[in-house]
Symmetry: C2
Subunit: 217 residues, 2 copies
Amino acid sequence: MPKATYFNLKESKRIAIEEAATREFGTYGFYGARLNRIVARAGIAKGSFYQYFDHLEDLYFHLSELYVNQKLALIYEVLSKHDEADFFTKYRLICKASVSFTKSVSDDVLLMSEQMGPDHHRDADPRDRFRRRKEEELFKPLIAKAIDQGEINSDADLAFVVVTNITSMIQQYLSRPGSVYGVGDLLRKPHELEHAIDVFINFLKSGLAGQFKDMEH
Amino acid sequence: MPKATYFNLKESKRIAIEEAATREFGTYGFYGARLNRIVARAGIAKGSFYQYFDHLEDLYFHLSELYVNQKLALIYEVLSKHDEADFFTKYRLICKASVSFTKSVSDDVLLMSEQMGPDHHRDADPRDRFRRRKEEELFKPLIAKAIDQGEINSDADLAFVVVTNITSMIQQYLSRPGSVYGVGDLLRKPHELEHAIDVFINFLKSGLAGQFKDMEH
DNA sequence: GCCTCGTATGACTATTCGGTCATATCAGTA
DNA sequence: TACTGATATGACCGAATAGTCATACGAGGC
C-alpha cells in the first residue's frame, strides 16, 4: 500500500509515476521490473520513491487494484441499467465493457493486466487474491440466479471457473492490438468486435456441438 | 540451443542442471531466474555453464521443448490406440494423458509450465511459438475431422481457441496440488480426476445451458 | 526575517548480476 | 611418459541493483 505521502502528491506527479510503472511492468513483467528505470522515466529521484512506497511491489499492487476497480466500476454501471436481463445478455454487456475499458486505456495497462491472468493467482500472496475476490463478487450471484432460473444447467463451481477463464480468453483475443492469432475469419467481419463476442458467448451457452448461429447486427 | 558440449555430458550432470533450472524457473519465473542460483544448486561452476549454453534463455527453451515433447509423445502414444474414436473421446484421452504426465513429473515442471500458459505466447519471440505449433499439429486435424463428421458445429478457429485454452484450464485446475480453489464439489467425488475431466468435457460439448449429465464410472 | 515540517534529492554503500579468462584437470592416445 | 584436445574451475570484472541518508528545498505560519 502507498504511504500517505503519495496521496498528497499533486496529480500530475502521481500520474507520471503510474504511467512509468505500468509501462515497466507491462514490458518486463513483475519480476523483470526495475526501480531504476521507473524513477528515471517518471522523472523523480530514487529517494523520493521511498517516500511514497515501501517496496516496488506495493506500487504493483496499487496499480493492479486501480485498474481492476476502474474496470469494475464501468461494468457495474452498465449492469445497473439492465437489471432485468438474462444471464447471457448480462455477460455480453460485461464483455463489451471489459473490452472497451481495455481499449480506452494504454496498451501498457493491457500488457500489465496480462501478467495477472487467471494462470497467475498464486495461492502464495494474499494481495494477489484481490482480483479473484472481485471476480467472485461479480459473477457468483449472477451465476446463482441463472441456475435458479434454468438459464444455466451446470454445476455452479464449473460455471464460475469457465466463465472467468473465458472472460479473460475473450479479453486476450479481442483486446490485444494485432493479435488475431489464428482466429481467422472470426474477426474479419463487419462489426467484428460485436460479432466475435457473440461467437464466444454462443459457445459458452451451447458448447462446440451445439448449433453454431451466426448472429447479425 | 545447447552447445554440443552439453550433450557429451554424462547424464547425471545434465539431470542435475535441468532439475536446478526447472526449479528456478518454476519458483522465480522467466525473468526472475538467476544464473548464480542455478549453478549453485546444480553444483557446477559458473564458467562451466557457458561451456554448455550461450545464454540462460537457451536453457529455458531447451527445457520447454523437452517437457512439451515428452508430454506429446505420451499423448500420441495413447491416441494411436484409439484411431477410430470420436472427437470428444479422443479429447478425453488427451486430457487424461496430459494430467497424468504432469503428475508424473515434479511440481517444478508444472510450475514452470504455468509460466508458458496460453496467456504468454507473445508474438515477439519466435522460439515461444514452438508450443503453439505443436498444439496446432495436434488439434487442428482432429477438429477438422470432427467438423467434417458433424461432431462439432462451430467455426474451426473458435474450436481451436477454446479447445487449447480449456485444455490448459483443465491442466491448471486438476494438476496443481492443493489447488481446489473454488472448484468445490467438482473434485470431492469418487474417481475425482475422471469425473472432473468429464465435467469439463461435457461443458466443452454442450455449454453451460446444455444438459449437465453427471457421468459415473 | 526565521522557524517548522513535509517533501525532494542524488551521492553513496553493499550486494548481486551476467559474463570472461587464464589456469587446472582429466581422458585418451601414441 | 608425454602430448593433445575436451572439459572444469572460480577469481575477477564492470555494470546494475535496491535501499539509505545527510542535506536541501519550499510553502505556511508567526
